[in-house]
């Protein structure tokens, strides 16, 4: 029984980490007063970019390259190659977000439309480039799996082994990032500026803060985090492989997460793991109760999407809490009054 619990928790870490990464990024964006709905698109294009980078890095040092596929003996990549691919993913995510940033900050486009457009762009670009990027078909590419951060035998340790020591480096990174963002927003001057811009961009402008610049930077940060989240989804599987639409709505879950967490970093962590556990439960419950009725089986499949709705309703019933925590100029276009 406890074995099962450990398995579910370990799986939920895998599922919650991309949500956490994307949500932290978008949290900062929203704290500065911008809603970027394009998280799903940025995750997709960032994920593809990270996958392409990892594949290229792997094959460049490959000792046995047959056609486009690498058949080395080690069957794994090293951490430096992994980090390199993550950097690429973050950069591409940031660039995609910058496009959104230009549209909304400089061209005063409607935030919702631009965000949805970014989602469509990310999905479309990743689909077409995934099939053919400079001659390589990345839906056929096989990349070796990334080893965990800690040495192999540490993962044999009971309980903590599968939970902590067999995870890849983005998992502790996500926790670190959460703490860093909390610290940044609440304990640094720069974070104060970000929050000020989000609360009242006119006053902030009057005080001499470069509103548009601040927003562009938070938007790009959000994009970088979304790119990392996408890369994690693609690469952290046991068999890293790129398929179209691999994120299956996790970007939207991240957005719901922030709302659910009422823009507080600690709650984002809670929410991410709640969603992660729900996602992890689904196949396991199905395997255990293999004779369950069709109705319950489909209910379980829909659960990861019903839970956010329920949770949102519960949170929203207290409008005071939302008003207290929501950045007051969220979603409003900034138009400097000269």
């Amino acid at each position: 029984m406890s074995d099962l619990v450990i398995q579910i928790l370990a799986a939920s870490m895998l599922l919650a980490t991309p949500l956490l990464l994307a949500a932290i990024g978008e949290l900062v964006v929203e704290k500065s007063g911008v809603i970027n709905l394009g998280v799903e698109g940025m995750m997709l294009i960032g994920g593809l970019a990270g996958f392409i980078a990892l594949y290229q890095l792997q094959t460049s040092t490959c000792t046995m390259l047959i056609g486009d596929v690498c058949f080395t003996a080690e069957n794994s990549v090293n951490q430096f190659q992994y980090i390199g691919s993550l950097v690429v993913a973050a950069l591409v995510g940031a660039m995609a977000a910058a496009l959104f940033g230009f549209l909304t900050q400089y061209f005063r486009a409607n935030h919702i439309a631009a965000g949805l457009g970014l989602t469509v762009l990310g999905a479309g670009l990743s689909n077409s480039l995934g099939g053919n990027f400079f001659g390589v078909d990345y839906t056929a590419a096989i990349v070796a799996s990334v080893p965990p951060l800690f040495p192999e035998n540490w993962s044999e340790v009971p309980v903590l082994g599968p939970l902590l020591f067999s995870q890849n480096l983005l998992v502790p990174f996500s926790f670190l990032m959460l703490v860093a963002v909390w610290f940044f927003l609440n304990r640094t001057r720069a974070g104060l500026v970000v929050r000020a811009v989000g609360e009242n961009h006119h006053s902030a402008y009057a005080l001499g803060y470069p509103v548009i610049l601040v927003r562009m930077m938070t938007i790009m940060f959000g994009g970088a985090m979304a790119g990392l989240a996408g890369a994690f989804i693609v690469i952290a599987q046991i068999a890293p492989k790129w398929t179209e639409g691999i994120t299956v709505g996790k970007g939207w879950l991240a957005l719901a997460l922030i709302l659910f967490a009422t823009w507080r970093p600690g709650r984002v962590l809670l929410g991410a793991y709640l969603f992660g556990i729900v996602l992890a439960l689904e196949p396991r419950l199905k395997a255990i109760f293999s004779n369950m009725s069709l109705e319950i089986s489909y209910f379980l499949t829909a659960l990861p999407y019903i839970v956010p709705v329920v949770v949102l309703v519960l949170i929203s019933r207290n409008p005071v809490m939302i008003r207290r925590n929501a950045p007051a100029s969220l979603g409003q276009s900034f138009e400097p009054r000269s």
């Binding site: 631009a114 099939g131 939207w252 109705e295 999407y305």
Partner: protein
């Protein structure tokens, strides 16, 4: 120095110029995409632009264009009403699915009738299905203050699961089938083609009629007026006596109705049966959102945008069949158009002025 001064006069040029600019940007970028993706870009671009005349049967090609644009336009017009009032229904795909489900459900409920007179009932149930599914996020917004954008989106995934459930459970059809599907509805309930062998069917006419009705609602009714007002001056709406709750309800009802109608027409005209969501739903609901923005939330603009985008889409599959150019060209053109329209929209509200401000002649705008 480049500055933006709010316009005080809105002539024809104020609206036309940004659209022309957006169109030009799209054409240029589209051509660049073609250059990147094809080995004979000029010839392939020409094929993309003139494919109905190059194909074996022009009427088939036009049939596809009209059919695709009818679904997109009807859903987009419904959605645009809410978008003007900042009511964000992005769950049209789910309402579409539920419309199909309820239309099929009506067929089963009434004992699988085999007369064409039942078709209006099916379509009506499709509308009701879409409305019912749309009322959920509406209710959550009005009664529990919940963000309707996220709830309507999550419900899309739930609706897809419901579709999968009914096609593998209570309404499961032929056991030999290699995909989850229901039994087909009776022949007489299938919407017929207007032109033989093409996809141009009566559903297109029905959708066109619905679009006309909705356009009249937007342009000539007091509700339509309140919605148009809401877009430009949200608080004026309240002062004039239009309740924001009513706006939310009506927006979701209308957009749910159009999506449900589209779903019912799709069921009858295209497949005649329900299929698992991976094969049945093709993102029409989401493309309709893009079309709504492309058409600047105006019924005429939406129809034009739907036709243009559908033309490019059909042309892209033609070009792909003729010279193996990947048909993602269409998607990229679509996104470029969207970004171009969004990026140039401000030009209709602002004048672009170069040079330092001359404080003597420019007072407060």
């Amino acid at each position: 120095m480049i500055r933006l001064i709010p316009r005080t006069q809105f002539g024809f040029w104020a609206t036309a110029f940004p659209l022309i600019l957006a169109l030009s940007i799209t054409v240029v970028v589209g051509f660049l995409v073609m250059v990147a993706m094809s080995e004979q870009p000029l010839s392939d671009t020409w094929t993309l632009l003139t494919f109905p005349w190059q194909a074996r049967t022009a009427s088939v090609q036009w049939g596809f264009v009209l059919q695709k644009s009818s679904y997109l336009a009807i859903m987009a017009v419904g959605l645009s009403i809410g978008y003007r009032a900042n009511v964000w229904n992005i769950g049209a795909e789910g309402q579409f699915a539920f419309g199909s489900i309820l239309a099929f459900g009506a067929y089963v409920l009434f004992g699988m009738p085999d007369t064409v007179w039942f078709l209006p009932v099916m379509l009506l149930f499709g509308v009701l299905g879409g409305v019912a599914w749309a009322l959920i996020p509406a209710a959550l917004r009005v009664w529990a203050n919940t963000n309707e954008l996220l709830t309507s989106l999550m419900l899309v995934y739930v609706a897809a699961n419901v579709l999968n459930y009914v096609t593998t459970g209570p309404w499961k059809g032929d056991p030999k089938a290699g995909q989850a599907e229901s039994d087909p509805i009776h022949e007489s309930l299938r919407i017929a083609s207007i032109i033989e062998r093409t996809d141009f069917h009566w559903g297109v006419i029905i959708s066109a009629g619905a679009i006309l009705v909705l356009a009249c609602v937007v342009l000539f009714t007091s509700f339509g007026y309140s919605v148009r007002v809401a877009q430009d001056a949200p608080r004026a709406q309240k002062f004039a006596g239009f309740s924001p709750q009513m706006t939310v309800w009506m927006s979701f009802v209308l957009s749910g109705a159009t999506a449900g109608l589209a779903g019912a027409i799709f069921l009858s005209a295209e497949t005649g049966k329900l299929i698992q969501s991976e094969n049945y739903l093709n993102g029409l609901g989401f493309t309709a959102i893009v079309i709504a923005f492309l058409g600047r939330l105006h019924p005429i603009g939406i129809v034009a945008a739907a036709l243009l985008i559908s033309y490019v889409n059909v042309g892209a599959t033609y070009v792909q069949s003729a010279s193996q150019v990947d048909d993602s060209v269409a998607e990229l053109v679509q996104v470029t158009a969207l970004f171009a329209v969004l990026g140039t929209a401000f030009l209709s509200r602002y004048r672009v002025v170069f040079g330092r401000p001359d404080l003597s002649t420019e007072g407060a705008a």
